[in-house]
């Protein structure tokens, strides 16, 4: 049954009128018209639909929208700063041209941001572990690793 739900997405409160059992993904894409999170499997296996919820990268394809009321949800659209400058992870993906078709890029960036926010250790093993849930079919993995490690290195140097 549809009801009014208030969501905090990318720092803004949005009121949507949906069935609370609707997976968050469809509300983000269709009600809020965001493109970042994408349908890939609907089973939380591939990572295409990932968003940040309180700094944790989570798949949005099964999670009921009713269960994330009051949580801070960030999509890839919310990573750039107010002036539009890309987040260092987004910028690194552009610099390394770490995409072919790019459909998985959303989940890769979200996972990487989550790693950098949560972990002090960002070695090769940790990066691979954090990206384990994210599938890429084009074979862009080595560029993605390179992009994330470049940001980790930059952060470690600062």
């Amino acid at each position: 049954m549809k009801t009014s739900i208030s969501l905090n997405v990318n720092g803004t409160t949005h009121d949507v009128y949906v069935d609370p059992k609707t997976p968050l993904l469809y509300v983000l894409r269709n009600n809020l018209e965001l493109n970042g999170p994408k349908y890939g499997c609907g089973q939380e296996i591939c990572g295409s639909c990932m968003v940040l919820i309180d700094d944790h990268a989570v798949p949005s394809c099964l999670m009921h929208v009713g269960s994330v009321v009051g949580r801070s949800i960030t999509t890839i659209e919310g990573l750039a700063d107010e002036q539009g400058a890309l987040h260092p992870v987004q910028q690194a993906f552009v610099n390394e041209q770490a995409a072919q078709c790019g459909y998985c890029l959303n989940g890769m960036v979200i996972s990487a941001v989550s790693l950098l926010r949560q972990k002090q250790i960002r070695n090769d093993e940790m990066v691979r572990l954090f990206l384990h849930r994210n599938l890429c079919r084009c074979g862009t993995h080595t560029r993605i690793l390179k992009a994330i490690k470049a940001v980790a290195k930059q952060l470690d140097n600062n």
Partner: protein, 734 residues
């Protein structure tokens, strides 16, 4: 011309500074004369310009002096958009940001068939090069008339024509006065001299990656129209199941459900919201009865099963005398197989369709808007002018996946529910279980070595189902057309050259015989990246490894001894050079392979290093090296990206992929039942590009698939002592 001023945002130095990396490569100007200001092209016009000779079929000049390029190809993640923009900007002396690209669209762009076979640079980009060069000449000619100066005193730069000395200038808008250049491209064409290139051959970044990183609208999946509604298809139990009963009324009572489409055995539901359509489709799935035709063989060994099927035989090539292969002694033989493989796109297939005012519009990530249009037109009985298809990029497809099927389904649904944009996206199970797969194959090889250890006789037999059942104007190749009340029935397997692609070794072998045997297998098959070349090269290059051991030769030297083409030798030698210092620990091995894609396209050699974890049986990929010669390189970073990606994808196919089925169903229905490589087994990769600016550009996007497979298997042999001839490699039992 001052490169720094003309292309401020993409000077080479700046790009290197921002990325911190550079494509490893070297440039070979074979016998190049000192640069001339222009190259005069005579001979033949290249690519699809022969079919679309008018300049404005490819190039349009915008009012503000910017350039619009029209290509009949679609962006699949291979970077064709930036490549054609580079080629056009180069000839028209303009900054890359001044070029926009229109991708495949019926009635708008040239009909370039399919974006397939690694042919887009050879066919589309080369047509665009000539059209742009001809456009430049025409612009200078018109400007010369307007300014009353000699044409050779004029230069075109960033949308303005000016005199070299006197400082008089005129804009493109002033020259053309709103018209386009409709002249035909005719030989001779004055092309820019390659040695003065500023954009072509450079790693110009793709613009769409920034859009992806911002979450901007990029894909067909991202399209939104006012009042758009959502559809889902309810799948039969298997290819041949018939719909007996379904509870349409129950579904129609569900919240948001607008319509149920039933046409024969085709069943779909439309709802206001996407999740409502998913719920309604689930309801219909649970409340429908289908006949359960048992269509798949059960408990089979695929290799033996394929050989047991009736087959039609075609001779591919015979040279010399191969009767000595019938001897029993001194013959080396081996039999290999590959299973059915899937494209397995990360984003499921999607289309939007609208039927309104007697016009059906479709937005699709198809590889061929025109052939799809013809097939859908026939399926629905529409006139040519009643259908329009716009190509919009989707998730990477790697061949003929569900893109055309979902477009046809959206079309059927839209015709039944006019006036609304219908968005249809496949579920993961739809994609895994219903896409057309890459055919399973068996390859049997026999060879004889001469006393010096060279191959004197070669016998090759391959068994394969069809490698292309693309729409091609045939409705029976569209999945839903088979389920309609008036069905289009698929007849015959089609055979076709895709099966024996690269079945002929690129080596000098005096006596050889190659036969292809076509069977009709139980699964739906079509084009998967590199078609039969993947399996043929897995077999040939594995066998070359086996033969090198039999001959007591180093695997690279053994290959070089059978090669005469200098460019082939160069990629093999470079691979050897890159790996010669590699040290191996216990349970590690390096395998090699080489091919020239289709025997006429890119040269590629590679090496793979693996580690065998004896306790678990798992093969770990440690490092992969690739060397590619694709002739003239338009964008080395794009070529490198495609090659790295091809190697990783092929390694995934080879190590772990196989479509499974029981007697009723495909059982590979998600990423759990059809796993692909994840980050824990991604090796370090080093790709070297050999740029040959004076050679023709060669198709490259599929060059890595076959050799990588064999190099992985050869490395596994070196690490474990076990020769894997039936793919996937899987776990190795000690």
């Amino acid at each position: 011309m001052n490169a720094k001023n003309l292309f401020p945002s993409y000077s080479r130095r700046k790009f290197l500074k921002t990325t911190g990396s550079v494509t490893i490569g070297f440039c070979l100007w074979d016998g190049c004369n000192p640069p001339l200001p222009e190259d005069i092209a005579v001979g033949e016009l290249p690519g699809n310009i022969n079919r679309y000779p008018n300049i404005n079929a490819w190039i349009e000049i915008l009012d503000d002096g910017r350039i619009r390029v029209l290509t009949g190809k679609i962006e699949l993640g291979q970077g064709i958009r930036i490549a054609v923009a580079q080629v056009a900007a180069e000839e028209l002396n303009t900054a890359i940001d001044n070029v926009e690209v229109v991708l495949a669209e019926t009635g708008r762009t040239p009909n370039e068939g399919y974006t397939a076979g690694s042919r887009s640079i050879e066919t589309s980009a080369m047509a665009i090069r000539y059209a742009a060069a001809a456009a430049k000449e025409k612009i200078l000619e018109l400007a010369a008339e307007k300014l009353s100066v000699e044409k050779d005193q004029l230069v075109l730069e960033n949308g303005t024509v000016r005199t070299e000395k006197s400082g008089i200038s005129i804009t493109l808008a002033q020259i053309l006065e709103g018209a386009q250049i409709e002249d035909e491209v005719q030989l001779p064409v004055k092309l820019k001299n390659k040695s003065s290139y500023i954009l072509v051959g450079k790693a110009i970044p793709r613009k769409d990656i920034s859009r992806m990183a911002r979450g901007e609208q990029v894909y067909v999946q991202d399209l939104r129209f006012a009042g758009m509604v959502h559809a889902r298809v309810v799948r039969p139990a298997n290819y041949q199941s018939k719909l007996v009963t379904t509870d349409e009324q129950g579904a129609k009572k569900m919240e948001g459900v607008l319509h149920v489409v039933r046409n024969g055995d085709f069943l779909a539901v439309i709802a206001e919201e996407e999740f409502q359509s998913i719920q309604a489709a689930q309801y219909l799935k649970e409340n429908s009865n289908w006949t359960q035709a048992q269509i798949f063989p059960e408990d089979i060994k695929l290799h033996e099963y394929i050989l047991s099927l009736p087959a039609e035989t075609q001779e591919v090539k015979t040279e010399g005398n191969t009767t000595p292969l019938n001897d029993e002694e001194g013959i080396i033989s081996a039999s290999y197989s590959k299973p059915y493989l899937m494209h397995a796109s990360i984003g499921t297939s999607c289309a939007v369709a609208l039927f309104e005012n007697n016009l059906l519009q479709i937005w699709s990530h198809t590889q061929g808007v025109y052939p799809l249009k013809e097939a859908i037109q026939k399926m629905l009985g529409l006139r040519e002018d009643q259908l329009h298809i716009t190509g919009i990029p989707g998730s990477g497809c790697y061949g003929h996946n569900g893109a055309d099927d979902v477009a046809a389904e959206a079309a059927i649904i839209a015709m039944d529910y006019p006036g609304k944009h219908i968005r249809l996206q496949w579920t993961r199970e739809d994609e895994h279980a219903w896409e057309p797969y890459g055919s399973a194959m068996v390859m049997q090889l026999k060879a004889k070595l001469d006393p010096s250890g060279k191959i004197s006789h070669w016998g090759y037999n391959l068994w394969s189902d069809a490698h292309s059942s693309r729409p091609g104007g045939n409705p029976e190749n569209l999945l839903p057309a088979r389920h309609l009340a008036q069905p289009f029935v698929k007849t015959g397997s089609g055979g076709g050259g895709g099966a024996y692609r690269n079945s002929e070794p690129y080596y000098q072998i005096p006596n050889l015989n190659i036969l292809a045997h076509f069977f009709q297998g139980p699964l739906r098959t079509s084009a998967l990246r590199s078609l039969g070349a993947y399996a043929n090269l897995f077999a040939i290059e594995s066998f070359m490894d086996e033969l090198s051991i039999a001959a007591g030769k180093d695997p690279l030297k053994f290959r070089l001894a059978h090669l005469t083409d200098k460019r082939a030798k160069a990629v093999v030698e470079k691979t050897g050079e890159m790996t010669k210092k590699e040290e191996l620990s216990e349970n590690e091995g390096v395998g090699y392979a080489f091919s020239r894609y289709k025997n006429v396209a890119s040269y590629f050699a590679c090496a793979v290093k693996v580690y065998y974890e004896q306790t678990s049986g798992q093969i770990h990929l440690k490092k992969m090296w690739g060397v590619i010669d694709a002739g003239e390189v338009i964008n080395p970073d794009g070529l490198k990206n495609q090659t790295e990606g091809g190697m990783i994808q092929a390694a995934s196919w080879t190590l772990m992929e196989k479509v499974t089925f029981n007697k009723d169903h495909i059982t590979s229905t998600d990423w759990g039942t059809y796993p692909i490589l994840r980050f824990d087994n991604i090796p370090e990769i080093e790709v070297v590009v050999i740029d040959r600016p004076n050679e023709s550009p060669l198709g490259a996007g599929e060059a890595a698939q076959g050799p990588t497979a064999a190099a992985v298997a050869n490395a596994v042999f070196r690490a474990t002592g076990k020769r894997i001839r039936d793919l996937p490699i899987g776990m190795i039992q000690s």
